[in-house]
């Protein structure tokens, strides 16, 4: 019964990427292999992890532009420190998480104490962190040697992803924070009269996004081995926008289901689209257009279906009265 209802609730979030994958399989024979599908599924891992961090911020109404810069800076410092001090894989993992959390705390506390909109705080601090990536280690970035990249190989990558999933689900559904985030996001006034401090919750959301930025560092470093300094002012904003797009698709296809899963689906959809475009020989620059169109489409459909649902439930309430 429970399983059935869980499947039912998540049906759309599961069906959407499956449909698009099936379409891809139809278009491109080369993708009809276990390896190809596995490769796709793995491509969705890292963006989903960052998306979960962004989820907390978007849900609570934070504008966090700094998460991209935080990720780059944490990756660079963690990678170089771990290699310099020969700390091994565990060292990279711990450093990524700790550094990223520290930066999350820095942004969170700046918001908490300066009491200015998250948009301004995060852009300001983003500029600072970006500059630091260019100054620290002479702007050289980091390049991990293969022995530090075990977590990017199978089966470890899947294990790391499952752990991340569990952590995200825990914080969103099993921990007070997730509830408070939703409460403050939809009605800060009432949340506050019920003893939930909006300021604190928003601060915590920024900090927790640091945890996921750290996990994202681990996943991308293990996958690509390098992280280079941010070039240009707000050059890291693209990372934030990409993640937002995954979250938006996730929210739109989530329905009553599990948002953590839906965001992974969203991340997967964006990756499938990219591969699909390559398969049919379209320039990859059209990706952005297609993804934007997808988000708009999903958002419009979901807001209309929400409306429909409301109308129907009102009718029933009215009829009952």
């Amino acid at each position: 019964m429970n399983v059935v209802s869980a499947i039912k609730k998540n049906a759309l979030a599961a069906a959407a990427p499956i449909m698009i994958v099936v379409l891809l399989l139809a278009i491109s024979p080369a993708t009809r292999s276990v390896e190809a599908i596995a490769s796709l599924l793995r491509q969705g891992f890292a963006p989903a992890v960052l998306g979960w961090g962004v989820l907390f911020n978007m849900k609570v109404g934070n504008w966090d532009f700094s998460i991209g810069a935080r990720f780059v800076l944490a990756s660079i410092v963690a990678g170089n420190m771990a290699m310099g001090m020969r700390l091994g894989v565990l060292g990279v993992v711990v450093l990524c998480i700790v550094l990223s959390l520290i930066m999350g705390v820095a942004v969170g506390l700046a918001y908490r104490f300066l009491k200015i909109p998250t948009l301004i705080v995060s852009i300001g601090i983003c500029l600072i962190f970006e500059s630091v990536t260019r100054i620290i280690y002479g702007g050289a970035g980091t390049h991990l040697t293969p022995e530090y990249m075990i977590l990017g190989t199978l089966p470890y990558e899947v294990i790391v992803f499952i752990i991340c999933f569990a952590v995200a689900a825990y914080f969103y559904y099993k921990n007070k924070l997730g509830y408070n985030v939703r409460a403050v996001g939809s009605n800060p006034t009432v949340a506050q009269t019920n003893g939930i401090s909006a300021l604190n919750t928003k601060t915590k959301a920024i900090i927790i996004s640091g945890l996921f930025a750290g996990l994202y560092c681990i996943m991308t470093l293990s996958r690509s081995s390098v992280c280079s300094a941010v070039s240009g002012t707000l050059g890291s904003a693209a990372t934030v926008f990409d993640a937002m797009m995954c979250v938006l698709i996730g929210m739109a296809i989530c329905g009553k289901g599990n948002i953590i899963f839906a965001i992974y689906s969203g991340a997967l959809i964006t990756q499938v689209l990219k591969m699909g475009m390559m398969a049919i020989g379209l320039p990859t620059s059209y990706n952005k257009v297609i993804i934007a169109a997808f988000v708009v489409l999903f958002m419009v459909i979901s807001s209309y279906s929400d409306d429909l649902k409301k109308v129907f439930s009102k009718r029933r309430a009215g009829a009952a009265a």
Binding site: S28, H143, M149, S225, S228, S231, G232, A238, M278, A279
Partner: protein, 380 residues
Amino acid sequence: GSDSTSVSAGTSSADQSAPAQLSDDGNASSAAGADASKEEKIKIGMIWYGNTDAMGGTFYSWANHAAEILNVELIWKLGSYTTADELTDCENLISAGCQGIYFIPMDTSANLQLGTACQNAGVYWSISNRQISDEEILAACEANPYFVNRIYDNSYDVCKEMVKVLADQGIKKVCVLTGDPNDGMMVERNQGFADGCEEYGVEVLAESRLVSGDASANVNSVNNFLTLYSDMEGILAASGTAGVGEGIITALNASGREPGSVKVAAFDTFDGNQEAFEQGWIAASCGGYTSECLVSFLSLVNRVRGNEISDQVAVWSLSPLLITSTEEMEIFSKYVDNPDVQLYSDELIKSLVGPDVTAEDYQAVLDDWNIEFVKEAVGI
């Protein structure tokens, strides 16, 4: 001026014994050096994309070093990626009292815009690394009395050459990571690959835009190549810097394929390419056009000092190094992996600023650019 070979020769054992060399070097260069240090300090504005990748970091360090020798004050503006931003930087630098502006034009129109701003303010300017692709703009720039020189590298030929290296190894099917089409230099490289493939009978299976600075995006692109085109034998990359090259090699290593079963030809060198060469992943690499930045900068300094080498805009070109063997890569890595290596000696730098310097001197330095020169300069 002195004969260019002797200048180059004088650079061979570089920094360690600089004072000793100063006295027994050619007259012209030591005179120029002495002149420079006596002269009033000049201010040059440097509009530079960034100092975090190999070329950016190297030139940042070279230019600062040269400025110190030549008694020049530099004001850097880093991180401008659009013409509008470069123009803003240029105007601010002119206001800050710069007498010369050096930049890499982000697109063709930057030549016109920044050139006009410089002309209006009576400030000299020079560029490097880009052709001026539009006739009208080229004409306008040539007519600009404050335009000192332009230097470009013939990426196009080198890219074709890289395809040839792959074709010679029997490779018939490749995927291409193309460069940003807004960037004139990248357009040349993309075109060089395309024409090369046509000429040497190599089939392009798919293209994907490389993403500078986001390594995982490039990893995904390579993964998608591998998934969609199992018959792919090679990868061409218009640039390997800023995480692109590392991403490609990492993706190949993680793919489980036999090292060397896919051959990569990538413009620009990157971290770990020495090892990738040894493993057999890389068949051809190419790099080293920081020299033209330095030459352009020195020629600008020379003009600001009042030394006119020509009443026309000087035009020079440089051929980037094509690296096809592990040995060459080893030599080149010595230099390129370390931005603090000063490939050009203080004497040579001083010798390139002075009343007697000619256009041929500059071109000679550019012509001298080959792996043998690097080998000598790094002292192998």
